[in-house]
């Protein structure tokens, strides 16, 4: 007679059905044994989807993320799905008859908690297979996310925001065909002056070299808007978001701030008529499992489900880019390579299913049980899953945030292995400038070097 496990509610069932994560253990909500874990998975697989909608894990009266999720839920599209169980829904997603055209139609009928539930009963390969069916395409100054495209964010951070170093690192990235997703700098100092200086410098660079890409300075939303109001050019408005109102509060963030900020940037784009805008996506969000627990704002809900809810926040603001920063948070939430890989695949799948242009910062910190090989592994798995973009950091070493991510070298290697190319407008630019030949980086000869020098000099004019 098998041991019987009783779960006292959806919160407990959801938490215990997760693959092992140190963060759920830290929160005291993880399964106590492997058999309990599987019992929870089995019970979750038998749960009808409508039960998940009917019983919110976090009360909408207490939490504006729950309210946002329910307000943006499309009941009409949900009707044919509602009596399906989570297990049946998993098979429906994986079914040969469910293709690239069908999944996007369902997106607004899937609430984040449903995406989380189905992720919990999928294997790693399921997560890759299912995500690979979905392309979520977005447009700002170029077009990201089409099939066959792998974008890269150039991340040229510097410990004291030295503009020359930032620009040289960014230019090197361009010569590896990186930077089509965004040239995005995390500032070391969150001051309006610093953020404004970085935004102006990046804008001079893309203007001088006529690069069809967008730039961003990943400061707090209020700092970016203050810089905008002082005349700084803002292509993408960045913000970290989380899956509970309380966690967002710990970021100094409300949903109203996102709404107002987005409107302000759309208006700002309208005024910058010298830019050939390709489309209306102006937001950039970063997330990561464990952030709510880290802020002691998890409301007893597991970190995978809260991550899905962060995507519920993100999709309400039609972002151009969204990525989980999957290994950044540290071993107390994702202990080792195995947990980081699992979380990366879950995040990407859930984001794609919910309609987001998902990328991933495949990374680790030096206090986690991981190394460069761990990054290689997840990078290749996510490329197989059709991830929209990765990070490009010089040799993968972020010298400001002190963690290891993926590199310019990783970008060209991954594109070569999977036969992927940069965003179409960006690739045309690379080939026109002779930086790329036949879809690959050309040798860095004297003319390319000259181009780099000119770009650098004209964008540094008056400041170096």
């Amino acid at each position: 007679m098998p041991e019987r496990f009783v779960f006292s509610g959806l919160r407990e069932l959801f938490a215990k059905a997760n693959e092992r994560k140190s963060g759920d253990q830290l929160a005291g909500i993880a399964a106590g044994s492997e058999r309990e874990r599987v019992a929870a998975k089995r019970q979750l697989a038998d749960l009808p989807l409508e039960e998940i909608v009917r019983q919110p894990l976090i009360d909408p009266d207490d939490d504006d993320v729950s309210r946002l999720i329910l307000e943006s839920f499309d009941q009409e599209t949900f009707r044919p799905l509602k009596s399906m169980t989570v297990g049946e829904f998993r098979e429906h997603i994986l079914d040969d008859a469910t293709g690239e055209a069908e999944l996007p139609k369902m997106q607004r009928a899937i609430i984040p908690e449903i995406a989380a539930a189905v992720a919990k009963i999928m294997s790693n390969k399921d997560l890759v297979l299912a995500a690979a069916k979905i392309r979520n395409v977005t447009r700002c100054r170029n077009t990201m996310g089409e099939r066959g495209v792998l974008g890269i964010r150039v991340q040229p951070n510097h410990p004291v925001d030295d503009v020359g170093s930032i620009l040289l690192a960014a230019l090197e990235g361009l010569f590896y065909g990186c930077g089509d997703a965004v040239i995005g700098v995390n500032p070391a100092a969150d001051s309006v002056e610093t953020v404004g200086a970085i935004l102006h410098a990046l804008d001079r660079l893309v203007t001088a070299c006529q690069v069809p890409t967008q730039t961003c300075c990943l400061a707090h939303i209020s700092t970016q808007l203050a810089a905008l109001n002082r005349g700084a050019p803002v292509d993408l408005l960045f913000q970290s978001v989380a899956g509970t109102a309380a966690a967002n509060r710990s970021f100094g963030l409300t949903l109203a701030m996102l709404q107002e900020g987005r409107e302000q940037v759309i208006e700002h784009h309208r005024k910058r008529d010298n830019v050939a805008w390709k489309g209306p996506n102006v937001m950039y969000f970063e997330t990561g499992q464990g952030s709510a627990l880290s802020a002691e704002a998890h409301c007893g809900v597991d970190q995978l489900t809260l991550e899905a809810r962060a995507y519920g926040v993100a999709r309400a603001f039609d972002p151009f880019l969204v990525n989980s920063v999957v290994g950044f948070i540290g071993p107390e939430y994702l202990f080792d390579e195995r947990q980081i890989i699992r979380a990366g695949l879950e995040d990407h799948f859930m984001g794609k299913l919910l309609g987001l242009p998902m990328g991933c910062d495949v990374c680790y910190t030096n206090h986690a049980e991981a190394d460069q090989n761990s990054v290689d592994n997840l990078l290749l798995l996510l490329a197989a899953a059709g991830c929209n973009y990765f990070m490009g950091v010089p040799c993968g070493d972020d010298v400001m945030l002190n963690y290891q991510s993926t590199s310019y070298h990783d970008a060209i290697g991954t594109r070569r292995i999977f036969n992927l190319r940069p965003a179409p407008e960006f690739l045309a630019w690379l080939e026109e400038r002779g930086v790329y030949r036949d879809g690959e980086p050309a040798k860095f000869d004297a003319s390319v070097r000259r181009l780099l020098m000119q770009g650098l000099e004209s964008s540094l004019e008056g400041i170096a």
């Binding site: 030295d162 690192a169 100094g252």
Partner: protein, 259 residues
């Protein structure tokens, strides 16, 4: 091997401007490539630096070993612990590193004066080498720099197995106006010696990161101890003036440079 380097990695062909920038940046710029991969030297160097960072994380904090007996005596420093009792417990249970042990509370209340303008505390965080490298220069600069303002200073002490959230308990125990925590950052590959200053105005148990300000990357190839101290003190002044801290308080770089 030199003849196999590609041109991008060569220093000689670059203009003075590129060479100057490259020299001042710790980033691994223009490393060259072997096909779609790193050159062997880059590959081995990355692993070597990762090994050093891993060892820095595992290094145990010891006040005298980190700062030297003379420095410890000069500043009357003492060491207390949080509720984490081992390195692994500290790494896996952050909340333990945000609360003092019972003996630590008694010791702190016995040796420190409450209600000062500024309380500076040292925490090992994730890098003992960062404390060893930065605190000997930074602490005296902060103390000297606070004097012209007439701010009263609390007794500095060091916290073993320390997390940033300890600021709240320091606030509750000692009730300073501004609390400054000098804490070892997570070691990167370029340096394991980077220190952060987390700061909060009248921190209390309910406070989160939203209530804190941060000056980070204090190390030899980042922010110098002199510039770090100036920015910390300038933020102190802003906090005292506005009676607040956190994301709504932006560092006033213009005021700093105007000095």
């Amino acid at each position: 091997m030199a003849d196999r380097r590609d041109e991008l990695a060569e220093n000689s062909g670059w203009s003075e401007l590129v060479r100057r920038i490259r020299a001042r940046s710790p980033a691994r710029i223009l490393a060259g490539r072997a096909g779609a991969a790193y050159r062997t030297e880059t590959q081995i160097q990355l692993r070597e630096d990762h090994a050093a960072a891993r060892d820095a994380v595992r290094a145990e904090f010891d006040l005298n070993a980190a700062l030297g007996v003379r420095f410890v005596e000069r500043w009357k420093l003492f060491e207390v612990r949080t509720r984490a009792s081992t390195k692994d417990e500290y790494l896996l249970h952050p909340s333990l590193g945000r609360e003092f042990s019972d003996t630590a509370r008694v010791e702190i209340l016995r040796r420190c004066v409450q209600g000062q303008d500024i309380q500076i505390t040292i925490g090992d965080g994730l890098s003992m080498p960062a404390v060893r490298a930065q605190v000997p220069a930074l602490l005296p600069l902060l103390v000297e720099g606070a004097q012209p303002h007439g701010w009263s200073l609390g007794q500095t002490f060091a916290v073993h197995y320390c997390r940033v959230g300890i600021l709240n308990e320091i606030g509750e125990l000692l009730k300073p106006r501004v609390s400054i925590l000098l804490i070892g950052e997570r070691p990167g590959l370029a340096t394991a010696e980077s220190l952060s200053a987390y700061m909060a105005y009248e921190p209390r148990t309910t406070h989160s990161d939203a209530n804190r300000n941060l000056i980070s990357n204090i190390h030899a190839r980042g922010l110098s101890a002199e510039d770090g101290a100036a920015r910390i003190l300038s933020l102190c002044a802003q906090m005292m003036k506005t009676g607040s801290s956190g994301y709504s308080l932006k560092e006033d770089r213009a005021a700093l440079e105007g000095k």
